[in-house]
């Protein structure tokens, strides 16, 4: 444990163990989440969902619900003819008009005096349906003659009668495709001494945020919309809501109460948000809509399930030659960010290791299943699972140990990959070596393997996997930047106004540290304001592990401007050259000697209350020096890249199939540790999320229906299951990163499942190609009763 930082002595804050600024509020139960906010005159909304999988809506009768005392509004699509489709492909109307494509689909909504009355009103709504044939899998959706989910164009008619086509028909159920190629895979295969091909199945999981989804919408007397929202992208959504309502974005204010978990789930607009807005508009009252936990399971997004066929080769000396990948993504009934995860998957496939020849083809296909959004890792867990299984298989085939084989193909600093990613800092080889050393990997790998045929039903194994992920933003929108406003008051108290959202990841604390480091002030001198679009400067949103990097650089930029202003004033006042002055421990000091000249607060007061009456307030906008990819998905999309290797040590009970994680040894290239306590927590949390993906979590979807919408049967990892976790930080001091740091929010979750799969193989000699590794799935595989995934995809 690091000692407490003594800011008075001018010690650095960087790399120290700094408790999160919001921790006392959260730990003492004072934090006011959206669930705790109640506005005067507020109504409570509930949504009627279809409950049927695929059907025509024949009729909806809301008369009895409208007549229930306490009900203020009951709406269906007919009441909002001006509603526009939402989502990434604009294929999804908030309230369904003539057809439902998923049991979660929104048919009607009620605003009432209480949630109980709204609930009762839902039960009075009568809907008749005409069933349609159900498309239960992506393979089925591609079969000739399959029912079409979006076979008709989706049009919108403006109030003036103008008609726009907002979503073109999908005549083959294909929602989105991504294709990428580098080199010549045929040549790569010809040069290979060993080729392996397998099919992998990556299952449904969902975010399970402790705070369920919710929103409060209200219009003021001038018809401006105020939205209390858990969004991760307030500025992008402000624009989208404006489009949806046909109003000027300037009239929308998004306020973000503390968010009870995001993990990517709040990157898109979902129907409940426009529905709450419609109800607020119609009732002219604030409308609050909070999901039940069951609704959260049924109607919040999932991680994208993927069927993936991978063919890889290498030479006898272990050099990788090529990779050919085909994937089929089950898009679900509508398109959200899940459809775009191939964008991230291809980075791992092309650039985690040096592979000269790659081909990647992928389709996201409409079905009647739940629809997939973005989820921590954004496709990278799925891609890494397949790639790292093949790294072990190829290593075994050429008689190399997994570490040596990976080291032979690992990226190095300075590499520009065929996809155009430029690894300016890269600690991948140190990650591999450190994780292998600290887990005693090579010795254990040999020893455990020798015990496959022992009589002991408990088998142990070690497995490793590595990952590459963006760590310096991701340039997908016109700007990947973030703005900061920094105000220093006359008592040297800082107000750090940042566009970056806090979603529990600890950004407030890290940003405050970075600013204090520049200005020589203690953390207690900082208030962070980050939750109101009428106040905060623009930011693209909290996603892509970008906040520390992008918002951090932005905050440092604002702090440096403030520092320059303070030092210039001090130089004038003290009649000393500015080069001799620095800021430390709340004072203007002499650089070198550290002699104190004047307290910063006093200096600012003398500036403020003088003839010139100057305030110290600065702004800065930081745009990372990354590139948009071209049409072939080539380009350096991030300003920095994060690396990691994790080794899982497991115990497999061959009588039950229970896989117990004993230890995860992780080595993470984080650029530089800013808040040691924070980054340890983030990495431990990510590992546990990866453990859930690997071993326990499974959203069971049968014929379009979620069978386990509760924590009773959707199993999160519980405390006794969490393994010992050993984390090493590889500090590569990224040249562009704030104080050398890179973003690592998603990194820790990405390779756990892949490492566990390799560990199960090392323990038992049985390789699993499908997640999750629940006891029954593992037991079946051990008994030779598992059906491995197969590629039966119409071309």
């Amino acid at each position: 444990m690091g000692a407490a930082v003594d800011i008075a002595r001018g010690e650095t804050l960087i790399g120290k163990r700094v408790p999160k600024m919001d921790a006392p509020e959260k730990a003492s139960g004072r934090t006011r989440y959206i669930h705790d906010i109640n506005l005067p005159g507020q109504l409570h909304a509930k949504i009627l969902r279809a409950g049927v999988v695929h059907a025509r809506i024949v009729s909806i009768d809301t008369s009895a619900a409208k007549a229930l005392p306490g009900v203020h509004a009951v709406i269906t699509a007919a009441d909002v003819p001006w509603q526009r489709p939402i989502g990434v492909a604009k294929d999804h109307l908030p309230l369904k008009t003539d057809r439902v494509r998923s049991p979660r689909d929104e048919i009607a909504a009620v605003a009432a005096d209480s949630a109980e009355i709204a609930e009762a009103a839902l039960r009075l709504i009568k809907v008749t349906y005409d069933p349609l044939p159900v498309v239960t899998s992506a393979e089925d959706a591609l079969r000739p003659g399959a029912p079409l989910l979006h076979g008709e164009e989706l049009t919108w008619t403006a109030p003036d009668g103008r008609r726009e086509v907002l979503h073109a028909p999908s005549p083959d159920n294909v929602a989105m495709t991504f294709n990428y190629a580098q080199g010549d895979v045929a040549r790569g295969e010809a040069e290979s001494d060993t080729v392996v091909e397998d099919v992998f199945w990556l299952h449904y999981v969902t975010h399970c945020c402790m705070g369920v989804s919710g929103v409060i919408a209200e219009f003021d007397a001038d018809d401006n919309l105020r939205l209390y929202s858990n969004t991760q992208v307030p500025f992008l959504h402000k624009r989208e809501f404006a489009e949806l309502l046909g109003i000027d974005p300037g009239r929308i204010r998004v306020i973000q109460p503390p968010i009870g978990g995001g993990f990517g789930s709040k990157l898109d607009i979902y129907p409940f948000e426009p529905i709450a807005i419609f109800l607020a508009k119609i009732t002219q009252r604030p409308v609050k809509l909070i999901f039940t936990r069951e609704e959260e399971f049924l109607a919040s997004p999932t991680r994208q399930p993927v069927l993936l066929k991978l063919r890889s080769g290498c030479k006898r000396d272990g050099t990788l030659t090529f990779r050919t990948v085909d994937t089929l993504h089950d898009n679900g009934a509508y398109t959200s960010w899940g459809a775009t995860t191939p964008f991230v998957m291809m980075q791992t496939i092309s650039s985690l290791y040096r592979v000269p020849h790659c081909q990647y083809r992928t389709r996201a296909v409409y079905t009647n299943n739940p629809y997939a959004g973005s989820f921590r890792g954004y496709g990278n867990l799925q891609a890494t699972f397949a790639v790292e299984a093949h790294m072990d298989k190829l290593a075994e085939a050429v008689g190399m140990d997994p570490v040596t084989f990976r080291l032979r193909n690992a990226q190095e600093p300075g590499e520009i990959t065929p996809q155009g990613m430029h690894f300016k800092s890269c600690g991948f080889k140190q990650c591999l070596e450190t994780a292998a050393l600290r887990s005693d990997f090579r010795r254990k790998h040999n020893e455990y393997r020798a015990k496959w045929h022992d009589s002991n039903p408990l088998k142990r194994g070690v497995g490793m996997a590595s990952m590459l992920h963006v760590g310096g933003g991701a340039k997908i929108y016109p700007s990947d930047g973030c703005g900061t406003i920094l105000k220093i008051d006359d008592f040297a108290h800082l107000t750090l106004i940042t566009g970056a959202s806090e979603i529990g990841q600890g950004s407030e604390t890290v940003l405050a540290q970075l600013v204090c480091e520049e200005l020589g002030l203690p953390l207690s001198a900082v208030t962070v304001v980050n939750n109101d679009t009428d106040i905060t400067p623009w930011d693209v949103g909290v996603h892509a592990s970008r906040t520390t990097f992008v918002a951090g650089n932005s905050a440092i930029g604002a702090a440096r401007k403030a520092k320059a202003k303070i030092l210039a004033a001090a130089a004038a006042k003290l009649e000393l050259p500015v080069e001799r002055l620095g800021l430390r421990a709340g004072c203007v000091v002499e650089t070198g000697s550290g002699n104190r000249f004047i307290e910063i607060g006093k200096l600012i007061r003398s500036l403020h209350f003088s003839d010139k009456a100057e305030l110290v307030m600065t702004t800065h906008y930081y745009e990372p020096p990354s590139q948009h990819q071209d049409r072939e998905f080539k380009g350096d999309v991030s300003a920095a890249y994060a690396w990691a290797t994790q080794v899982a040590e497991v115990e497999v009970d061959t009588m039950t199939g229970i896989v117990r994680l004993l230890r995860i040894t992780g080595a993470h290239d984080v650029g530089r540790v800013l808040n040691r306590l924070g980054i340890e927590g983030q990495i431990e949390g990510g590992i546990v999320m990866g453990q859930g993906y690997a071993t326990t979590e499974n959203l069971i979807v049968e014929n379009g229906v979620v069978r386990n919408p509760s924590f009773r049967d959707y199993k999160l990892v519980t405390a006794p299951e969490i393994p010992a976790i050993d984390i090493s930080f590889i500090e590569t001091m990224d040249g562009e990163g704030p104080q050398g740091a890179k973003g690592v929010g998603e990194a820790p979750a990405i390779c756990v499942a892949a490492a566990v799969a390799n560990a199960i193989y090392n323990a038992t000699g049985v390789r699993l190609y499908a997640l999750p590794f629940t006891p029954e799935n593992v037991y079946r595989a051990l008994k030779g009763q598992a059906q491995p995934p197969v590629w039966r995809v119409a071309s």
């Binding site: 109980e116 326990t696 006794p720 037991y779």
Partner: protein, 288 residues
């Protein structure tokens, strides 16, 4: 909109039985099953909700004349904290130790766990192998009377028991096991906490040297109600435990169970686990 029009909280068993006689009453004890089930619509609450939590005579564990009596309102935590239960009724203690979570153990009662009659109910399998009887109190003819029913006859199917609508399950009575009596419960779930049994195994017997006598075997979550397994019991009766006997008993057990496939497991896996875990329990007893 629960449909409850009346809430009553009697302070004596007599008063409770009287209120129950009037009919249309839902009984509330710990509420850990009743509340979620009424919310998800599996249980319809009747117009009168009667909390029996103030009825002091339904609480506590006592021992008299070679019998143990456990009041219906005894919580799972109280059972787990009881020295008598831990030392003499090991199978029941083990079930309470693996029961849900602390919060649920603090609220859930043994009477409630029995009346909920889940095929996977944790305390039911130990009570079966301990030959427990349930005590039912009622005032059907004006005076408070009780009858005793063996637990095996009390459990009829999922959520179904032999309790009449006018009866309260007031307690559980079982003979204090003799010396050299062993009992064991093994809950098999997919995780070590907060889990519903995929299958569970109960075993009780008098041990004489290496041999088991008066053997009782029960399984949970493999049939519409927790069941005794007489063929497995017969295969073990009087025998010294060795690999051969264990294999015969495990095979016999497999023929006595009727597991289903659901979201938690397939019938095939449940069968495999009954065989493997019953084998493991017996091997553990042998090696102890």
């Amino acid at each position: 909109m629960s449909g409850i029009s009346n809430y009553v909280a009697p302070r004596s068993l007599d008063e409770a039985a009287e209120l129950l006689r009037a009919g249309n009453v839902t009984l509330l004890a710990g509420g850990t099953d009743l509340m979620p089930q009424s919310r998800n619509g599996r249980t319809q609450l009747r117009p009168t909700l009667m909390s029996i939590r103030r009825v002091a005579e339904l609480r506590g564990i006592s021992e008299a004349a070679g019998n143990v009596r456990i009041g219906a309102l005894t919580t799972i935590s109280e059972l787990r904290d009881s020295v008598l239960v831990r030392e003499r009724l090991q199978a029941l203690w083990q079930a309470c130790d693996r029961f849900a979570s602390d919060q649920i153990r603090n609220a859930a009662t043994i009477g409630g766990n029995i009346c909920n009659a889940s095929p996977a109910g944790d305390t039911l399998v130990p009570l079966l192998v301990l030959d427990a009887q349930v005590e039912l109190a009622s005032k059907s003819n004006g005076t408070l009377a009780t009858r005793a029913v063996p637990i095996a006859d009390f459990l009829l199917g999922p959520g179904q028991t032999a309790r009449a609508a006018t009866e309260i399950l007031s307690g559980i009575v079982l003979a204090l096991p003799p010396r050299h009596f062993i009992s064991s419960f093994f809950k098999f779930g997919t995780r070590p906490a907060l889990d519903i049994s995929l299958i569970s195994v109960g075993l009780a017997a008098r041990r004489a040297g290496n041999a088991l006598h008066d053997v009782r075997v029960a399984f949970g979550a493999v049939a519409p109600r927790p069941i005794r397994a007489p063929a497995a019991e017969a295969a073990l009766e009087g025998k010294a435990l060795d690999d051969g006997v264990i294999a015969v008993a495990a095979a016999a057990a497999e023929a006595e169970i009727h597991p289903i496939s659901d979201v938690r497991a397939s019938d095939w896996y449940r069968r495999e686990m009954v065989r493997n875990m019953f084998t493991r329990v017996l091997a553990h007893v042998r090696d102890r």
